[in-house]
C-alpha cells in the first residue's frame, strides 16, 4: 500500500518505559541475570568521567585529572507494545555511586544479587538502596559449591528489614529471574502502599 507522506508519518506508539536496577559485587552474576531475560543481548553504555585523582597542583598541569570509562550494561523486555522494562546492571565500583544516583532516579526498584561465599560484597548496594528508600529484593545467586544458606540466614547476616524479600535464584535461569523481577514489582507496590518514599535520598 502506498501511503501519503502524512500517513507514513503516523506517530508510532510511545511506550511507557520502566527500569529495574541490578546491583551487587563483582562477578556476582549481574550481567548473566540481565541476559537471562532480556530480548536483546545485554548492551553496554559507557560514560566518560573526568576524575580529580589527587589535588591538582598548578605546575603539574593536566596530570591531576584522569579520565575513566564506566560501563553499565542493560537489557530490554518488551512486555507489551506500549510497556517496556529495562534492566540496568550498576557499575561494580562503589566510588561511582553518583552514576547509581542517575540510574536510580525513577527506578521501579532493584535487585541486589548476593553470593553467599562473599556476602559482604553486597553490603554497599544494600546500604545504598536502604538509604534512598528504593524498594529492593535480595537475590541469593546459587552458585554450585556454595552452601545453600536458608534465606533467613542471609537476611540476618545482612541485617535486612523484615519486609525486604530474600529469594534464592539462579541468574542463568530465565524462569528464576522472572520470579525475582515479579518479586521486585510486588515489593515496590507494597512499599508504595506503606510509608511514603522520600524524594531524593
Amino acid at each position: 500500500m502506498i501511503l501519503g507522506r502524512t500517513e507514513r508519518g503516523k506517530a508510532p506508539v510511545e511506550p511507557v518505559t520502566l527500569k529495574i536496577l541490578v546491583a551487587g559485587g563483582f562477578g556476582v552474576g549481574k550481567t548473566t541475570l540481565v541476559g537471562a531475560v532480556s530480548e536483546i543481548k545485554p548492551l553496554r553504555t559507557e560514560e566518560l568521567l573526568t576524575e580529580a585523582g589527587r589535588p591538582v597542583d598548578d605546575t603539574s598541569g593536566v596530570e591531576g585529572k584522569r579520565t575513566t570509562t564506566v560501563a553499565m550494561d542493560f537489557g530490554r523486555i518488551t512486555l507489551r507494545e506500549d510497556l517496556v522494562l529495562y534492566l540496568f546492571g550498576t557499575p561494580g565500583q562503589d566510588r561511582f555511586w553518583f552514576l547509581w544516583d542517575e540510574l536510580a532516579t525513577g527506578a521501579l526498584g532493584a535487585v541486589v544479587l548476593a553470593d553467599t561465599r562473599r556476602l559482604e560484597d553486597c553490603f554497599a548496594a544494600v546500604d545504598y538502596f536502604e538509604r534512598r528508600a528504593i524498594p529492593f529484593v535480595v537475590g541469593v545467586n546459587c552458585f554450585e559449591g556454595a552452601s545453600r544458606y536458608p534465606a533467613e540466614d542471609v537476611r540476618q547476616a545482612l541485617d535486612l528489614d523484615p519486609a525486604v524479600p530474600v529469594v534464592l535464584c539462579d541468574a542463568r535461569d530465565r524462569e528464576s529471574v522472572k520470579e525475582v523481577l515479579v518479586e521486585v514489582v510486588q515489593h515496590a507496590m507494597a512499599y508504595a502502599g506503606g510509608p511514603r518514599r522520600t524524594l531524593t535520598g
Binding site: 506517530a11 511507557v16 520502566l18 548492551l43 559507557e46 512486555l79 525513577g106 515496590a188
Partner: protein, 131 residues
C-alpha cells in the same frame, strides 16, 4: 547550529578538565542549554517532518544517525548510546541539539520519585509472568 550566536556557548562544565576526544563531536560541550538531564530510559521520537535530516548541513553524521534510528521506532537514550557506540553524555548533548532543532522530541519517563500507576505495575507483573 542553534545555540551559536545566542549568548555564550557553554563550552565546558566547570570541572570538565581536558576535553575528552569523543566530546570533540559536541564541540566540548558536556551539557546542553535548556535541557534537563535526560533519563537513560527517556524515549527519543523523530518528528514527522524530520524526513531528511541530511539536508540540514549544520548536522553532524552522528546527529543524522540518531534521527535515522528513531524514525522507525522510539529509542531510549541508553539504546542510542549503545547503538552508536558513544558515551551517554555525548549522546545527551546531541539529542539536546536535535530537540532544539525540532527534529526529535523526548518523552518523559515516569517522573522521578513517583511510582507508576498501580495498574501499570500490575501489567508489568502479568507481562513478566507471561514471558
Amino acid at each position: 547550529m542553534s545555540g551559536d550566536g545566542q549568548g555564550t556557548p557553554h563550552w565546558f562544565d566547570d570541572e570538565a578538565g581536558p576535553v575528552v576526544r569523543p566530546y570533540a563531536m559536541t564541540r566540548g560541550r558536556t551539557t546542553s542549554p535548556g535541557q534537563h538531564r535526560l533519563d537513560l530510559i527517556a524515549l527519543v521520537v523523530a518528528e514527522r517532518y524530520a524526513e531528511d535530516p541530511e539536508a540540514d548541513n549544520s548536522l553532524s553524521p552522528e546527529h543524522v544517525d540518531i534521527v535515522g534510528l528513531c524514525r522507525d521506532a522510539p529509542q531510549s537514550v541508553a539504546e542510542l548510546a549503545a547503538g552508536l557506540d558513544l558515551p551517554i553524555g555525548v549522546v545527551r548533548v546531541l539529542i539536546g541539539d536535535l530537540v532544539e532543532d525540532e527534529l526529535v522530541r523526548v518523552t518523559r519517563p515516569v517522573p522521578p520519585a513517583e511510582l507508576p500507576d498501580e495498574s501499570i505495575l500490575r501489567d508489568v507483573i502479568s507481562g513478566l509472568r507471561a514471558l
